[in-house]
C-alpha cells in the first residue's frame, strides 16, 4: 500500500500565561495509506486539532517530521497545501459568498485548470445536491448545508489527501449520514482521509484504522479489530476508556 502520510515524533507546545507551557502534542507518530480513512479519536483538548493543523501547515511543529503526498511540511509547505484539502471543525465559509462562488474561488486559488473550473464546480454542486441553495449567501444556510458546501470546497481541486476536523460535529443524523457516505465515496476514489472525532460510533463506522489520542499522546493505533484484540473489549467506547485508563496507570506506576 502506498503511504501518503508519514508523521514521526511530532511535538507541539503552547505557552499559557497561567498554566505555563502546555504540551498539546507529545511525540506522536503514525502513517496513513492511499484509499484509507484514518480516524483520530479523542476527547476535546486531546491534541487532535493541533495535530491536524500541523499536518495542514497551519502551524509549525516544535519538532518532528510530517510528510504528505511525498512533501515535507517544513520544506515544501506550498506543495503540501496543493496536495491537501483541509476542513476545520467550523464550517469556515465566507458568510456573504454563495456556495457556487466559494467553490469556484477555491478551485481558482488551488490552481485548478481554468478551462475545467466551471465543469468541476457544476459536477460538485450536482454530486453534493447543493443546486437548490448554490446561489444563496452562506450566512443564510443551515449548519448541514454549510458543512456539505465546506466539503465540496475542500475537495474542489481534487487533492490526494483530505484532512477533516470533526466534519459531522453538531449535525443531525441525516446530514451526518450523508457526510459519512461522501467520505466513504472519496476513500473509494483513492483519497487518503484523516478524520478526527470524539464520537466513538462515528469513528467505528467509517474509519479503516483508528488512533486513540489523549493529553497530546497517541495511546494506541490500529484497525478496530486490532484494538479489540489489544483491549479485550468490543465496543469502541469501552476500548477508548480501557486504553486511556491503562495509560494513566502506567504514569502513576
Amino acid at each position: 500500500m502506498e503511504e501518503t502520510i508519514t508523521i514521526k515524533e511530532l511535538n507541539k507546545e503552547f505557552y499559557d500565561p497561567q498554566r505555563g507551557t502546555v504540551k498539546a502534542v507529545n511525540n506522536i507518530s503514525f502513517s496513513a495509506f492511499k484509499g484509507e480513512v484514518f480516524g483520530l479519536l479523542g476527547p476535546n483538548g486531546a491534541g487532535k486539532t493541533t495535530t491536524l493543523r500541523m499536518m495542514a501547515t497551519l502551524m509549525q511543529p516544535d519538532s518532528g517530521y510530517i510528510s504528505i503526498a511525498g512533501f515535507s511540511t517544513s520544506e515544501k509547505p506550498e506543495d503540501v497545501r496543493r496536495s491537501i484539502g483541509y476542513m476545520s471543525s467550523n464550517t469556515a465559509l465566507y458568510p456573504r459568498l454563495s456556495p457556487r462562488e466559494i467553490i469556484r474561488y477555491f478551485a481558482e486559488l488551488n490552481d485548478y485548470p481554468e478551462s475545467e473550473i466551471t465543469l468541476r464546480v457544476e459536477q460538485l454542486i450536482s454530486y453534493f445536491g447543493i443546486g437548490e441553495y448554490a446561489d444563496t449567501y452562506s450566512e443564510k444556510l443551515s449548519t448541514g448545508m454549510k458543512q456539505i458546501t465546506s466539503i465540496a470546497r475542500t475537495i474542489v481541486h481534487d487533492p490526494a489527501v483530505l484532512i477533516l476536523d470533526e466534519p459531522s460535529s453538531g449535525l443531525d443524523v441525516i446530514v451526518s449520514q450523508k457526510i459519512h457516505n461522501y467520505i466513504k465515496d472519496l476513500r473509494d476514489q483513492g483519497k487518503t482521509i484523516i478524520f478526527s472525532s470524539h464520537n466513538m460510533g462515528e469513528v467505528e463506522k467509517i474509519c479503516d484504522r483508528i488512533g486513540i489520542i489523549n493529553n497530546g499522546k497517541l495511546l494506541a493505533a490500529g484497525t478496530i479489530e486490532n484494538l479489540r484484540e489489544q483491549t479485550g473489549e468490543y465496543y469502541m467506547e469501552n476500548i477508548f476508556i480501557k486504553v486511556v485508563n491503562e495509560f494513566e496507570k502506567k504514569i502513576v506506576q
Binding site: E78, R81, E108, L109, N110
Partner: protein
Amino acid sequence: MKTLVILYLKDLLRNKMLGLMVLLIPIIFYPLIYWGINQFLMVKAGFSDSRELTLLYTIENDEFLQLEDSLISVKNLILERSDNAAGGKDRMKLIVSKTDGLPFYSVILDSSNSNHKEFYARIENKLIGFYETKKKELVESKGFEPEYFDVFQIETRNSEGEHEIIRKMLSLLIPLLSVISIISAAAAASVEITSGQSEDRTAETSLTLPLKRESIIISKLLTVNIYALLAGTVNFVFLVVFIITIFSSLITGVSEDMTGFSWSEIFSLKIIMIALVSLLLTSFFVSVIFITASGFASKRKEGGVMISPFTAFLTYLPLVLVIPAIDPNIFIAATPVLNISFSLKLLIENNTDWIFMTETAFFSIIWLVIIYKLFFPFLIEEEVLLGYSGSSLTKKIKTKWSRWKKRLP
C-alpha cells in the same frame, strides 16, 4: 493573490452592516470639524500675544504723520514706513490718504490669518481714535456740525485675493476629511478581515491554500486599502457636500464675499490627484496599523477594542491638535498619517515647504522599514493569523506579546 483579494473584497462589500457603519461613523465627526475650524481661528489667536507683526505703512499727507506716535504704542507691532511694499503673510499694509479733510484708511491683510486679525483689532482702535481727534479739530476750525462726520469707514482688502479664506479653510478640511473617512473605513475593514476571519475560522481555510503567508497578508492589506479608498471616497463626497451646504454660511461670515467663488478654484485636477495620492498613502499606513492591532484579537468585538485607541489617536491628533494650530515641524513629519495629511494641507495652500516634504518622505521610508522588519514577521505569526490561545483578551495580548518579544533584537 488577485482571486483572494476579489474574494475578500466581495465578502466585505456585501456586508451591509459594515457598509452602514463605515458611512455613519464619520457623521459623528461633523460637529468636531465645525469645532476644528473655530480652533483654527481661536488657537492661533491664543499665540498672538507672543507674536510680532510688521506693519508697512504709507501716509500720503504729512498732516497725518502723528498717527505714527499712536501706532507705536501697539504692543509687538513693528512699524516700517514704505511707499511701495505690499502686504503678505507676515506683514500688513496700511495706506492713509486724505478725503474731505479727514484720514481715509486702507488696510491690506490676510483675513484667514488670526495674527493679522488680532493686530487689526488693536490698530483699529488707534485709527478710530486718530480719526476722532482730526474730526474734532476740523469741526472746531470750520464750525461744522459734528454729525456730518459720524460716518466712518476703514477699507480692508485681502492681501492674496478675496477667496483666500475659503482656500485656507479647505486646505485644512480636505486633509482632515481624508484622514477621517479613510480611518473609519480602514478600521472597520481591518477588524472584519482579521478578527472577523479568525472568529469565522475562514482564516484557516485561506492559510491552507498553496500561497505564501506573506501573500495572504498582502492580500488582506490590499483588500483593506481598496475598501478604505472606495468607502473613503464616498464619505469624502458626502462630507464635501456637507461643507458646501453647511459651511458656506460660516465661510461667508468670515470672508468678504462668497459670490463669484467657484469650487473649481479648490477642486482642481492637481488637488484631486494630490488628494488621491494622500488617501492612498494614508490608507496604507492605517491599514497596516489596524491589521496589526486587530491581529491581537480573535473576535470582532475584541478587534474593535484593540483598534479603538489607534482610531482615536489617528483621528483626533490631526483634527484637534496639530493641523489647525501648528506650523510644519519635524515631529509632525515623523508621525505617520499625520505627516501625509499635513503635506496635503501645505500643497493645497500652495506652500511647498520642501524641507518638511523631504522629512516626511524620509520618515515614511523609516516607518516602512520598521513595518517590514518588526510588524510584518509578527503579522505572519500563526497565533496572529489564526487568533489562537487563551480565553480572555488580556491573556491573548500577554501571550502574543511574549512571542513577539522573542523576535525583538
